[in-house]
């Protein structure tokens, strides 16, 4: 019997905009190709089952209405077990709305603050202009090859990192965290936050394997046999090529 690999999807029915399901499929398929038996735990409102067993949590973005619906549940039901799992080495990938909710707070244009769960040392403020378009990032995490990440951003929030979090990378193309300091996303222990959709992991298989390896290492495993990623990396390369063309046009 092969060992299981468990992906925990936070609010799959409500926080699943912009095709974030691609991240789930990529984690499950790649775990399978790496020889594990993939298992998906759907963490709906009111549920906190098996959160101890989760290797990688995924927390996606939602529309305002849906985000408001998960807010209370996140604080009342999920926060404690999520913190406990992360303390024991579980990994979290949070994209866009999920990224913001894991930080200290979101501040509206009127100055009103909605606290997040403070799992990562970031804060977000409402911005006027929406950042929309392709993003290319030079990743600052070790052991990912190629060193670039590609995706698509669509957000008006401006996220700023505190001293406890370091950037996931620096933007070569696109706005990233806030459009001013050149950073994109954050890494804090096993938690990775980012604004990249695209979906993110399918075109960045090296990041997917980084998350899988890191989660497995807490169970004393983590050696992964390289897979044939030619299809994924060809798509990755196309985005880099287009980014270069655009830079040339400017």
């Amino acid at each position: 019997m092969s060992q299981t690999f468990t992906v925990g999807w936070l609010y799959p029915d409500l926080m699943n905009i912009y095709g974030d399901r691609g991240n789930i499929l990529t984690l499950l398929k790649r775990a399978e190709w790496h020889g594990y038996e993939p298992r998906l735990v759907e963490l709906q409102r009111g549920a906190a089952q098996m959160m101890d067993d989760v290797d990688v949590f995924f927390f996606g973005g939602g529309q305002d209405r849906e985000q408001a619906l998960v807010y209370d549940d996140l604080i009342e039901i999920k926060q404690e077990p999520l913190e406990a799992a992360v303390a024991k080495g579980s990994v979290v990938l949070a994209v866009c709305g999920g990224y913001q909710l894991l930080g200290h707070y979101y501040q509206t244009a009127e100055g009103e603050r909605f606290p997040g769960i403070g799992l990562i040392d970031v804060r977000t403020e409402a911005g006027k202009k929406r950042f929309i378009g392709d993003v290319v990032v030079d990743a600052s995490i070790e052991g990912v090859d190629p060193s670039t990440l590609v995706g698509f951003e669509n957000h008006s929030g401006r996220t700023f990192l505190g001293v406890g979090a370091r950037p996931l990378g620096r933007v070569r193309l696109g706005a990233g965290n806030n459009g001013t300091d050149g950073t994109e996303g954050c890494v804090q222990g096993g938690v990775v936050g980012t604004y990249l959709h695209g979906s993110l992991l399918p075109k960045n298989p090296h990041l997917a394997d980084y998350l899988i390896r890191r989660a497995l290492s807490r169970r004393g495993m983590g050696e992964l046999v390289p897979l044939d990623d030619s299809t994924e990396l060809a798509a990755h390369a196309r985005i880099l090529e287009r980014a270069q063309q655009r830079a040339g046009e400017r």
Partner: protein, 456 residues
């Protein structure tokens, strides 16, 4: 008659002729820009010339087909209809369409205007056109990069409908929870339509569903039937929201691939040379709208038998003994249905799937991960990823467990590969986003296998 209106009409018409001659896409919207710059009220003035009035159609999927159906029905009783074709559904496209039918004196000589309107443009278009009937087909996630969130679109539509006079007809899809929420808040009761045939319904919401929660209490909605996307029969477990009882339904639905459908509406059997469950909604919606404009049900059923599909929505092209079926598929709900129809009903095996990321397609292609391409597993024999995002499609197909050919970003090479992989006498389905379809079609035209679209 104002001098300004005549000047605007002339300027607009001149622009239309020029862009048609230069073959830059059929001259569909530029004349509207020019005329509106000279007379900003030109659309209101021109539609004011219509002897009967206008009907406007909005929603994420099915606008073009439904507008063509309604036009077909009105033309069958001798009415002169002006409509915006070729997907030009912003205010400029509607203006250009009316301009193209105006005479030298600046008067629009037609009885009806039938306009498909982009969801976000409805408030402006309804305000300018003052339609006798307004139809909302559905609200699915689509091109979020352009529109922002579904919620803001829904609010715009609600505002537009609430501003209509009491005498205006509003025809709404009861099966769409987000459309139902809009309709239940209107001062006047709309006409509700919906499907009623559990045999063709699923029980599970697809991954692409958006409107899953109750607008009153936030609970997850319970679906007794799922027809297309999140459209079906639903209620809130707390009993504070449910599908409105439809005033007009389609029952006894029979589907035959992309070839035909049949259903019973108000006791009359309707048979159509159009395929797919999603087209049952379009036909039912056109039927309900035509009835509210005064057409007779028996006549409608008779006339529909002879309908021809709108460009690219379901076009057939034969070349060198191979049969091509072109089906526009532009968002998860639409794509899921066309893939399902192709695989389950048409038993299709050969595919070109085209994905572009130009403005009209949506620049964010993340949504392909919400399409259940897994349906192609073990059923498709040849799948060619095409379009400028063919490489993204190839990754999606790999994770769906579908063996695909090399991605082809060049439409000419995609077609060459199709010829190579599809035998004479066989059928291939081209499922494409809007501009990916235009690109492939342009290549078919270049090779003399299809007509330029403004001549069909």
């Amino acid at each position: 008659m104002t001098i300004r209106k005549v000047a605007a009409v002339w300027a607009g018409k001149g622009t239309g002729a020029l862009s048609r001659i230069s073959r830059r896409g059929g001259g569909t919207t530029l004349p509207g820009d020019v005329a509106r710059a000279i007379d900003p009220r030109i659309l209101t003035r021109l539609t004011g010339d219509l002897s009967q009035g206008s009907a406007v159609i909005t929603g994420t999927n099915g606008k073009t087909t439904t507008a063509r159906l309604l036009t077909w029905l009105l033309e069958g009783v001798g009415q002169r209809v002006v409509s915006n074709r070729a997907g030009a559904n912003l205010i400029f496209g509607v203006t250009a369409a009316t301009l193209s039918r105006a005479g030298a004196d600046g008067r629009l000589r037609a009885d009806w205007g039938v306009f498909e309107i982009d969801e976000a443009s409805l408030p402006r278009a309804a305000g300018e056109v003052q339609p006798k009937a307004t139809l909302v087909l559905n609200l699915f996630r689509d091109q979020l990069d352009r529109y922002g969130e579904l919620e803001s679109i829904a609010k715009k539509i609600e505002r537009a409908l609430a501003a209509l006079p009491e005498t205006a007809h509003v025809i709404l899809n009861a099966d769409d929870p987000r459309v139902a929420e809009i309709g239940l808040g209107l001062p006047n009761k709309p006409v509700w339509f919906g499907l009623d045939d559990p045999r063709v319904a699923g029980k599970q919401l697809p991954h692409a569903a958006d409107a899953r929660t109750c607008p009153r209490c936030g609970s997850s909605l319970v679906f007794e039937a799922v027809y297309v996307g999140h459209d079906g029969v639903y209620h809130c477990p707390n009993h504070d929201f449910a599908r409105p009882a439809p005033d007009i339904t389609a029952t006894d639905i029979a589907l035959d691939g992309f070839d035909s459908l049949a259903m019973t509406i108000r006791g009359t059997r309707v048979e159509m040379p159009l395929g797919g469950l999603y087209n049952c909604y379009n036909v039912l919606a056109a039927y309900a709208t035509a009835c509210s404009l005064g057409l007779d049900g028996g006549y409608i059923a008779e006339r529909l038998r002879t309908f021809r599909a709108a460009f690219g929505r379901q076009e057939r092209i034969d070349f060198r003994g191979r049969h091509l079926i072109l089906v526009l598929s532009k968002n998860p709900a639409g794509f899921n249905e066309t893939v399902r129809t192709a695989v389950d009903l048409a038993h299709a095996t050969n595919f070109v799937i085209g994905l572009n990321d130009r403005k009209a397609d949506g620049t964010d292609v993340s949504w392909i991960w919400d399409v259940d391409f897994e349906q192609l597993q073990n059923k498709a024999r040849v799948v060619i990823p095409a379009g400028n995002r063919a490489y993204d499609l190839a990754v999606r197909l790999k994770y769906a467990g579908v063996a695909a050919e090399e991605p082809q970003t060049d439409p000419a090479r995609a077609l060459d590969l199709l010829i190579k992989t599809t035998n004479e006498g066989d059928t291939a389905h081209l499922l494409c986003t809007y501009t990916a379809m235009l690109d492939l079609r342009a290549e078919l035209v270049r090779r003399g296998w299809a007509q330029p679209y403004w001549e069909t």
